[in-house]
């Protein structure tokens, strides 16, 4: 990258990799899996040139635990993977959340369940937002919708992870990972985070530090979980982000996350041309989720139609958010071909007849 302000045509995977370098990622640990392997390949070439750490881990389990070890020393580190292999990392994510360690994990989603296939999907909303690890914990989840956002949100992921000492998942999908778009790296806009109060660097001139779960002390553990959730309330207050388009006069709000956002924006224009007052809403942070804003829109009487490539995972959160004040419909296909603009328009028209309280499932 010679000129950071030059527009380059770049794949989402490479964009994430280079953005991680720009964000000061000192160590990368990973194991190959389609459709995100280019990230590890790119960094295997770049990290040694910069004198930074790179390990081809023996498994995803090892990779994420290497990240946990590395970030405990106060440096920025990351692993990247996809869906079924991210499932293997859930134990370590629970540990990292409990131990308040700034792990950055990129999930370039593919289809599931099980082995599934390498085509893009959005089936890991629940896995990311609600987690597969044990106990009560919360992860910050960021969902980009363009290659440019793959860059911007990678910067943000490293910053938020250290700022709040909390794991962050960048939830992309195979479409974003594989496609090229013009994008600009610019400069990492976030300040350095002071980690000196907790990072493990050896007990020199200070007391020794231990980063661990407070298992045997029941009172402390109870308080610890409360503290983790209080911290997340602050995160929700300060860091919840979303985008909305033409919601002011909208009667229905198409809602999607990640790269599906592109399709609902196009569908909105078609619907508007047909005289249907449609708007768009798109959470950028899936966790913390913009419950408050959705409730506000619902209170204004706006109905929601959630469009996603899964069986209605985010749909449940939108439904929960509206608190019964408006209707929430669902347009979905579990995996495979992304719902097209035409399909979305057609389904919205069908949903209108049912006052939006239904779901249209494509095969």
């Amino acid at each position: 990258m010679t000129d950071n302000n030059e527009k380059v045509l770049i794949k989402g995977n490479y964009a994430i990799a280079q953005a991680a370098i720009n964000a000061g990622c000192q160590c990368y640990f990973g194991y190959p899996i389609t459709p995100q392997t280019e990230i590890g390949e790119y960094l295997s070439a770049e990290m040694p040139k910069l004198g930074r750490g790179y390990v081809c881990a023996e498994s995803e389990i090892a990779a994420i635990n290497m990240v946990v070890g590395a970030v405990s020393t106060g440096v920025r580190a990351m692993t990247t993977s996809s869906s079924l292999a991210v499932a293997l990392m859930q134990e370590a994510l629970s540990y990292a959340a409990s131990d308040e360690l700034p792990v950055v994990l990129v999930n370039v989603m593919r289809a599931g369940p099980g082995l599934g296939y390498i085509y893009p999907a959005q089936g890991d909303y629940n896995q990311s937002v609600y987690g597969g690890g044990n106990g009560d914990y919360k992860i910050i989840v960021l969902a980009p919708s363009t290659v440019q956002e793959c860059i911007d949100l990678t910067y943000r992921a490293f910053y938020l992870a250290q700022k709040y000492r909390n794991p962050v998942i960048l939830l992309a999908d195979g479409l974003l990972g594989q496609m090229m778009e013009p994008a600009c790296f610019g400069e990492n806009p976030y300040p350095e985070v002071d980690v000196s109060s907790w990072a493990l660097t050896g007990a020199k001139g200070r007391e020794s530090r231990a980063i661990y779960s407070l298992g045997p002390n029941e009172k402390k553990q109870i308080q610890h979980v409360y503290n983790l959730f209080k911290k997340f309330e602050v995160i929700a207050e300060k860091e919840t982000t979303y985008e909305e388009f033409q919601t002011e006069d909208a009667e229905i709000v198409l809602t999607a996350f990640g790269s599906m956002t592109r399709n609902i924006k196009a569908a909105m224009k078609v619907l508007r041309d047909k005289g249907i007052k449609a708007g768009c809403f798109r959470p950028i942070t899936l966790s913390p989720f913009p419950h408050k804003r959705i409730l506000e829109l619902a209170t204004e009487g706006k109905n929601f139609v959630v469009v996603e490539m899964n069986m209605g995972q985010m749909y449940k959160d939108v439904k929960y958010s509206v608190e019964g004040r408006s209707e929430v419909g669902l347009i979905n296909r579990p995996v495979g071909e992304w719902l097209s603009v035409e399909e979305i328009v057609e389904a919205v028209e069908k949903l209108m007849e049912k006052n939006y309280a239904a779901s249209i499932q494509y095969s």
Binding site: K7, L9, T34, P35, I118, P120, G174, L175, Q178, M179, M180, E181, P182, S259, R262, N263, K265, A266, E337, W338, S340, V341
Partner: protein
């Protein structure tokens, strides 16, 4: 306005590179563009393809079922993608390797000997640039001048030496249909 393209051929014909050059040409023209490949196990069968969407505004779906233009460099790709061209759309075929046939009546057909052009220039590898030249001659959204700039952008360093030959292939492809008339 959105226009989309599918480029397809067999491995070694430089399909993904041609797509990258085309996408870069759009970017350099200041348009919104996305490039999306087939990838992973799909690529093991020998044929490759990529999809490009260019738009004045934000690009919506990346991976579409149908296309305005299909640029196909071998028979297999013709057989597969002729059915994915929108009514009124165009399939641009490499007649050196694709038999002239018109299985549908609602699309336009362009046949040009792209591999032959490349062979006559002494390097079969530039068939992809000849193909882009042909495409530019039949599609007003594609600019020959920006294709040349796109090539320069993609081919950095030592590969720049290949520029004159590739420009020749681009020009030959661009002019071939007019010459045939």
């Amino acid at each position: 306005m959105e226009t989309n393209f599918i480029l397809a051929g067999f491995g070694g014909q430089g399909i993904l590179l041609a797509g990258t050059i085309l996408a870069n040409s759009f970017m350099l023209e200041g348009k919104n563009v996305t490039w999306y490949p087939c990838y992973g196990a799909e690529m093991r069968g020998g044929t490759v393809n990529c999809e490009i969407v260019v738009s004045d505004s934000e690009v919506s779906s990346v991976h579409k079922q149908d296309t305005d233009y299909a640029l196909v460099l071998n028979q297999q790709s013709f057989d597969k993608f002729v059915h994915r061209v929108k009514p009124g759309g165009t399939i641009v075929s490499n007649s050196t390797l694709v038999a002239e046939a018109r299985p549908r009546t609602d699309i336009k057909y362009v046949f040009a000997p792209m591999t032959q052009i490349a062979n006559e220039l002494g390097n079969s590898k530039v068939a992809n640039m000849a193909a882009l030249g042909v495409l530019a001659s039949v599609c007003s959204v594609v600019s020959k001048e920006y294709l040349a700039k796109g090539f320069e952008k993609v081919m950095s360093g030592k590969k720049k030496e290949l520029l004159p030959l590739n420009i020749k292939a681009l020009e030959s492809g661009y002019n071939i249909l007019a010459q045939a008339k």
